[in-house]
Amino acid sequence: MLRVAIGLGVAALGVGALVGSERAASRQTGSDRVVVTYWEKWTGDEMNAMKRVVDAFNASQDRIFVKYLSISGIADKTLLAASGGNPPDVAGLWSDQVVQFADAGALTDMSELAKEHGIGAEDYIPAYWNQVVYDGGLYALPTSPGSAAIHVNRALMPPEYDTPEEFPKTISEFDRFVDKVTRRNRDGSLETIAFLPRDGWGLWNLPHLFGGSFVEGEKVDVNGPDDLKAWTWVHSFAVRFGVRETQSFRSGFGNYSSPQNPFLSGKLATYSDGPWFSNFIRLYNPRLDWFAVPFPYPDGRPDLKGFTTLNLNTLMIPKGAAHPREAFEFLAFVQRQPVMERLCKDQRCNSPLAEVSEEFFRTHPNKEIRLFDRLARSPRAVGPIPMGIRNQIGSEVANAVDLMDLGQKKPKQALDDAQTRLEEIWAKYRRQVLAR
């Protein structure tokens, strides 16, 4: 009996010691450096690119040691860890989570820390900076960003479209181009489609291309006249190629990061994606001859020229982090121009910083990097929906467009229904989350 009790006691002590040592290890190394735990979503080349930055930071001083961990499902895990009172000191999330996480009280406002380090809006491209500030607070700092451009497979272009200069500039020119480049097999099935506005990256923001948006002031607005114009244009592709034919054609698309990617396999002649896509081209179809161009703009609306969707990887300090000041020192290190440029170049992205060296452009592995940089600086560059219910907006609008394409609802009806549902969701969110 006594032995059993002693055994159980020893086991309990063992578990306690394990838990204790984990906590202790998260604070200090043998050299008394403060250990900053950093969770990041990346794997592979992207993870290694940030690993080089972390190593450089650890080597640059002797007070702080950043412990870098690649974590899957990072958003859920960060949220749950914060809820349990033991979050990482730094979390590498996306900018589209800033608003929702800030509303949930999951993030540290870094405004004061940024001021102390002399970091401010003037250091960044405005459309990127706008993604990390919310409701008067600074909740993240940028790492590698992206902007969307249309990638063109030159081999599938007729001579009149095979240079960036000759590529269509307006929507009506683009529509004619789509008809001309799309090819069918002898049995009438689709062989190549010039462009599909629902396949590619950054296309959820298409209402902005026509002057619309998802938000008007503090209200959800997915069914305004410009939104309707945009989604009707998107829907017109299903109409012109046939719903069944398009379904059949799209069902042949393989995974994004594979040689069966519809653009890399030649099924789509053009494809919207960010600067990192050049890496996938290099990996899966290195012989592909391509160039990139901006999106076309609606006829008679040159003011809408320069549309692009932006995304941004960010570093956040979760609420309750053990070492926010030390964590911010690491964040500030990443913001230095040479460090940021190296990271972005290694990840084949443009830089979020206002100032970019000529060396960065000259040595960048993406030959179109100047275009991506130019688009990010455009006044028509659009980031994520700045609302805590952006996931629900995305889901409802995607469903509305599905229903249009399937012929189950007219575009106006589909958008009106989505609007009604989203208004209810927004009202509830304001009552249950924002009012607290």
Binding site: M1, V4, A5, L8, A75, D76, L79, L80, A82, S83, Q100, D103, A104, G105, A106, R244, Q247, S248, F249, R250, S251, G252, G254, N255, K319, I389, N391, Q392, S395, A398, N399, D402, L403, L406, Q408, R421, K428, Q432, V433, R436
Partner: protein, 292 residues
């Protein structure tokens, strides 16, 4: 004195399990029941809102769609998988040579992780180059776009559910091998042929095993998550593959509505319990227990 001491020692030995049950099962279970009556976004203190989450579920169109999808999937996949597994087990029970090999072969698929399975099936059901449509094309018929047409997407998952019948098949096989040979001999003496023997001897004798597998099948199918989550992100096309567990997950982690997700979890629990009790009640007249 001795009895009390024995009781204490017994409790001490059972303590790891009791503690595990209390900490990892009872506490989360009771907490989620409480949260289902609150507005709770994980990090903020939950606020009591009474039955609002449950009332909202009644009028939530997406909840109804996900529920309908789940029930339809369950109604189609459970009978299909049950019949498939029984037939497979019966075939393997005919004394075929190398039975151990076939048994292993049919069981292996149920060991493949769901995510890997999802990627594999994406290839099989690829509308243009998939193995399935290539096979159908050889008969002169064009196969449907399984993954992109809402009329077919749910059926794609139903067909895939048959892939995992190996697990049930092994249990049926064990049940079949327990059927006394004397019953078959008696039936043969009465002139019964294969079909009659199956209907009047085999199926009644393995009916408890069928009931067990059906109940497990219902529970499993109502909780379907990983496969559609991998194959049809967001329940596309047009939410035709948006299942109950996917909507629950989205509410909990994507929309950070943990209270609402908890309410959904309890609705799922009530549904599963009701269907299980219903199955037990309906089975009472048809299930034959050898012992009583």
């Amino acid at each position: 004195m001795n009895a009390r001491r024995n009781q204490r020692i017994g409790l001490l030995f059972a303590m790891p399990w009791i503690l595990g049950f209390l900490v990892f099962l009872a506490y989360p279970l009771l907490s989620s029941f409480y949260y289902s009556f609150t507005s709770f976004s994980v990090l903020r203190t939950p606020i009591w809102i009474g039955g609002e989450n449950y009332r909202e579920l009644l009028g939530d169109e997406v909840f109804h769609i996900s529920l309908r999808n789940t029930v339809l999937f369950s109604a189609a996949s459970v009978p299909l998988a049950t019949v498939g597994a029984i037939i497979l087990a019966m075939l393997l029970n005919t004394g075929v040579r190398g039975m151990a090999f076939y048994r292993t072969l049919f069981y292996i698929p149920s060991l493949v992780p769901m995510v890997a399975l999802g990627v594999l099936w994406l290839w099989v059901f690829n509308g243009q180059y998939g193995l399935l449509n290539e096979g159908i094309k050889s008969t002169g018929i064009a196969g449907p776009p399984w993954l992109t047409d809402p009329a077919w997407s749910k059926w794609t998952l139903v067909i895939i559910s048959i892939w995992g019948t190996g697990n049930a098949m092994v249990i049926y096989l064990a049940g079949l091998q327990d059927v006394p040979q004397s019953l078959y001999e008696a039936a043969e003496m009465d002139g019964a042929k294969t079909l009659r023997k199956t209907w009047h001897v085999t199926l009644p004798m393995i009916s408890p095993v069928i009931l067990f597998n059906v109940i497990m099948g219902i529970i499993g199918s109502l909780q379907t998550f990983a496969l559609p989550y991998v194959m049809f992100p967001g329940g596309q096309p047009a939410r035709s593959t948006y299942f109950f567990a996917m909507y629950l997950y989205d509410n909990a982690f994507l929309y950070q509505r943990m209270g609402y997700a908890s309410a959904m979890g309890w609705v799922m629990f009530a549904m599963t319990l009701t269907l299980t009790l219903l199955a037990l009640k309906l089975a009472a007249r048809h299930v034959h227990y050898e012992g009583g």
